[in-house]
């Protein structure tokens, strides 16, 4: 195969989006992603499409794809039949509004040398697309189209690894020790199931207590009620466990912290989404929850402060995965047909990159509010997202410009590890001081 020859050739020529930017597709997208941003559903000219939908408007398009199709055929003939998207980098020059027609051109930017990956051996193919649009509904002509954004997309075209080489599936994962539950502390675990970290407060003397006990150490009273922690706290002490490393805790040293909550009780929990060296005694943290298997959900803590986004948990339902694929007009069978997904070596259907991208966009604007403008989203996928799991997003501000421009590092993890990591640039209304008040 002379794959290098494809580099620089056009991937799509004269692409035309099949549908005008329209309210129903936007609404379907928002419903699938759980994105309640009112900016996307505002009346009339105020509304604009979620930026992460950029590629969706190009899907199912007309346009000549001769070179790209030839590249795919050549790889498939050589046995590299499977495909998975690994990276998506989008820059948004301006919002897309209802009634606009999308036009686009793309090039094959690069074809990698043969690579061995956890999924199997294959080639990374990167395409770069320029997207323009004009307001067809208002009578504009194609020649009046102006740039909307660019879209760089990387896929892995691969030969699936033999089963033995493949990483363990969801079900084979070793499990953490189970909580020890009896009548005295059942209320705590009921709280966890309800998304709360509950401690006890003595009815007689008002002392808050943890761990759960049927009586108060301060006064001996057996009358108490449960309260839910606000979620604010700080690291009171912390260790990094290196040895032994039980299989359920992964292959890298992990952090366990003693967190002192704002309510003056302490709990032992993991601090997630941060390297051990970034978790110091005194570090402010915020409560979150993480699901480890079908039985076990635990309170965890994320680094907090004005530069930290509050965590977002997204249950990975089959509905989300399928509706996200359809809302992004991605009809690849591995995203909606479990039988065919298994035939291609996956344990189940898995989320498509466009849905992940959409969720990243939602996570950011959930935090910034509707008057923020996302300028770019660049994500890389790690482990797949299968049904029955949960995605937990965390993020932090890595740069803060004076003009309200923020650069955010965002991560989404699930039981298998880091599903997505990426960078989002967003401009916020500086008068609202986004994030400053979330400590």
């Amino acid at each position: 195969m002379n794959l290098e020859a494809y580099q620089g050739l056009p991937s799509t020529v004269a692409g035309v989006g099949p549908d005008l930017v329209n309210a129903p597709m936007i609404r379907h997208w928002c419903e699938a992603m759980g994105d309640a941003n009112p900016a996307y559903t505002a009346a009339g000219a105020e509304a604009f499409a979620p930026p992460a939908m950029l590629q969706a408007w190009t899907m199912g398009s007309s346009g000549r794809r001769g070179h790209f199709n030839a590249l795919m055929r050549e790889l498939e003939t050589a046995g590299f039949a499977s495909v998975v998207a690994t990276d998506c980098e989008q820059q948004y020059a301006r919002p897309l509004r209802i009634g606009e027609r999308v036009l686009f051109e793309s090039d094959i930017e690069s074809v990698s040398a043969e690579k061995r990956t956890a999924l199997g051996t294959g080639y990374f193919i990167t395409t770069r697309m320029d997207v323009r649009a004009y307001d067809e509904a208002a009578g504009e002509k194609p020649g009046e189209a102006t740039p909307v954004g660019t879209h760089r997309f990387r896929i892995l075209k691969f030969r699936p690894a033999e089963r033995a080489e493949r990483p363990q599936g969801v079900d084979a994962k070793p499990r953490r020790p189970r909580p020890v539950v009896n009548r005295d502390n059942a209320g705590y675990w009921e709280g966890v199931a309800a998304g709360e970290l509950r401690f006890q407060r003595c009815d007689a003397c008002g002392t808050a207590r943890f761990p759960w006990l049927p009586g108060c150490n301060a006064c001996g009273s057996d009358r108490w009620h449960a309260e839910a922690a606000s979620g604010a706290g700080e690291v009171y002490s912390k260790v990094v466990v290196h040895h032994p490393l039980p299989p359920a805790f992964g292959t890298k040293p992990y952090t366990v912290a003693l967190v002192e909550l704002a309510e003056d009780v302490r709990v032992v929990a993991n601090v997630v989404g941060a390297a051990p060296e970034d978790i110091a005694i005194g570090t402010p943290v915020r409560l979150g929850f993480q699901r480890y298997d079908e039985e076990l959900e635990l309170p965890v803590f994320h680094l907090a402060g004005p530069d930290r986004l509050p965590p977002l948990r997204v249950p990975l339902t089959r509905t989300l995965i399928v509706s996200g694929a359809i809302a992004s007009r991605d009809y690849q069978d591995v995203h909606h047909d479990a039988e065919l997904a298994r035939a291609k070596g996956a344990p189940d259907i898995f989320m498509n990159i466009l849905t992940t991208n959409g969720l990243v966009g939602r996570y950011v604007t959930d935090w910034t509010g509707p008057d923020a403008r996302i300028e770019s989203i660049a994500i890389r996928l790690g482990v797949p997202a299968y049904p029955g799991d949960e995605l937990q997003f965390s993020g932090e501000v890595t740069e803060r410009g004076e003009d309200g421009r923020l650069v955010l590092a965002v991560r989404g993890t699930n039981r298998l590890g880091v599903h997505v990591s990426g960078t989002v640039t967003v401009t916020v209304n500086v008068t609202r001081k986004v994030g400053r008040a979330t400590t």
């Binding site: 953490r176 020790p177 189970r178 909580p179 020890v180 539950v181 009896n182 005295d184 502390n185 943890f210 761990p211 759960w212 150490n217 009171y236 002490s237 912390k238 260790v239 990094v240 466990v241 290196h242 040895h243 032994p244 039980p246 805790f249 040293p253 992990y254 366990v256 003693l258 009780v265 302490r266 709990v267 032992v268 929990a269 993991n270 051990p276 005694i281 480890y292 076990l296 635990l298």
Partner: protein, 394 residues
């Protein structure tokens, strides 16, 4: 003394025999066999026979029941048998139990023992998997799902706060490890005989649970240790000079847990040992300045520093300075763990430390402190615990 008034136990009983098996990574025999061997060795040392024994005391964690040890050791009728809970915290309390039995006439000769294959069999350091939903299981259970599963991890969570509070580097823990290993190097019975370490080697050893390194952790051991207790009067007729039990005490703090007391106080001390210290000083009439050498429970180095502070050998936060420059070594401010401790000799749940306290009073330690006449011995740290002041007779 009890928490509120002086007790009458001091000076009534003495340790008259000590005996142990070899300390190894694989004993090649049962825990019961180790217990029986240790009991026989201690009786031989005392010049007593199984027929003299009418009381036995051990740990609830020990797998060898008093009646089975008696059965296999040739011991007949027992008028007193007892077991103490909370892991290594039981060590000195077994001797307190024996002393109380002897002082009250409940028994005449009591043997305290601990024997296990903690290295070749179940290792505490391998980590918990599960616990029954008892009150005790629930207390431990809070820390298991997030992954605090080993003694090292529980101690480390205390140690991290201590080091943070006093702005100390984990490297200061090396002073304890170096002292223990220096002492062990001179002790043929020690696992680390002739293998001293340097501060640099400590600082270069790999992390187990940060801030604890490999050389902050004790040597998990197979073995058995026993001590024989009888009245001071009878002791004076026996082979060795008596090690008089000048004071013996147990202690649990407010809101005490077993290894997981994370939810109280400021995590920079060991309140349960403060309870023990108040009683030992009050009952013996001695204070830190009177102690010639101490055996401070050392399954992990950080709690040795905290004990120095709890017992008043130095002020809060100053133990690292106290331990620096050989402060805990033979010839230093307070020679500690002259047998090599559990880091250097063997991890026998503290019972081997009681034996070393006795050797110091007999003048037979491999690292003898000149004219030692008062020794402090402590039991497990981070748990409800106990302590002894042993003194020379007369």
């Amino acid at each position: 003394m009890s928490l509120h008034r002086a007790d009458t136990l001091g000076g009534r009983a003495a340790v008259v025999g000590i005996g142990a098996t070899e300390f190894s990574k694989d004993s090649g025999r049962s825990e019961l066999k180790l217990a029986v061997e240790a009991v026989h060795a201690a009786l031989d040392d005392a010049g007593l026979t199984p027929a003299d024994v009418d009381g036995l005391v051990t740990f609830t964690m020990d797998s060898n029941p008093e009646i089975t040890v008696a059965q296999a050791a040739g011991i007949g009728e027992l008028s007193f048998f007892s077991r103490i809970h909370y892991g290594g915290g039981a060590a000195c309390a077994t001797v307190q139990q024996a002393a109380m039995a002897v002082a009250t006439g409940v028994a005449e000769v009591v043997v305290c023992y601990r024997a296990f294959n903690e290295r070749s069999g179940h290792r505490f350091g391998s980590g918990l998997q599960s616990r029954q939903p008892s009150a005790e299981g629930v207390a431990m259970g809070w820390t298991m799902p997030p992954g605090l599963l080993t003694p090292a991890s529980w101690v480390a969570l205390h140690a991290a706060r201590y080091l943070h509070t006093y702005r100390l580097s984990p490297d200061v823990l090396g002073h304890v490890a170096v002292a223990d290993r220096r002492h062990a190097a001179a002790n043929p019975a020690a696992y680390f005989y002739q293998r001293p370490i340097t501060l640099a080697e400590h600082a270069a050893s790999r992390w187990i649970v940060e801030p604890l390194r490999l050389l902050d952790c004790c040597q998990e051991t197979d073995g058995g240790q026993a001590v024989v207790v009888t009245s001071v009067e009878r002791a004076r007729e026996l082979r060795h000079a008596p090690a008089v039990i000048a004071a013996a005490a147990q202690g649990a703090g407010r809101a005490q847990e077993a290894m997981t007391s994370f939810y109280r106080d400021d995590l920079t001390g060991l309140p349960e040992l403060g309870v023990v210290a108040r009683q030992l000083w009050g009952s013996s009439g001695l204070g830190p300045q009177d102690i010639d050498t101490a055996v401070l429970y050392d399954h992990f180095t950080p709690f040795v520093l905290m004990q120095l502070e709890e017992f008043g050998f130095c002020a809060r936060g100053e133990a690292a300075d106290f331990a620096a420059d050989g402060g805990l070594e033979l010839g230093g401010r307070l020679p500690v763990n002259t047998h090599g401790g559990q880091l250097g000799e063997a991890y026998l749940h503290g019972m081997n430390g009681i034996a070393e306290g006795v050797r110091q009073l007999r003048g037979s330690s491999v690292n003898q402190v000149a004219d030692a006449s008062a020794v402090l011995v402590t039991a497990g740290t981070g748990v409800p615990t106990s302590g002894l002041v042993l003194t020379a007779d007369g």
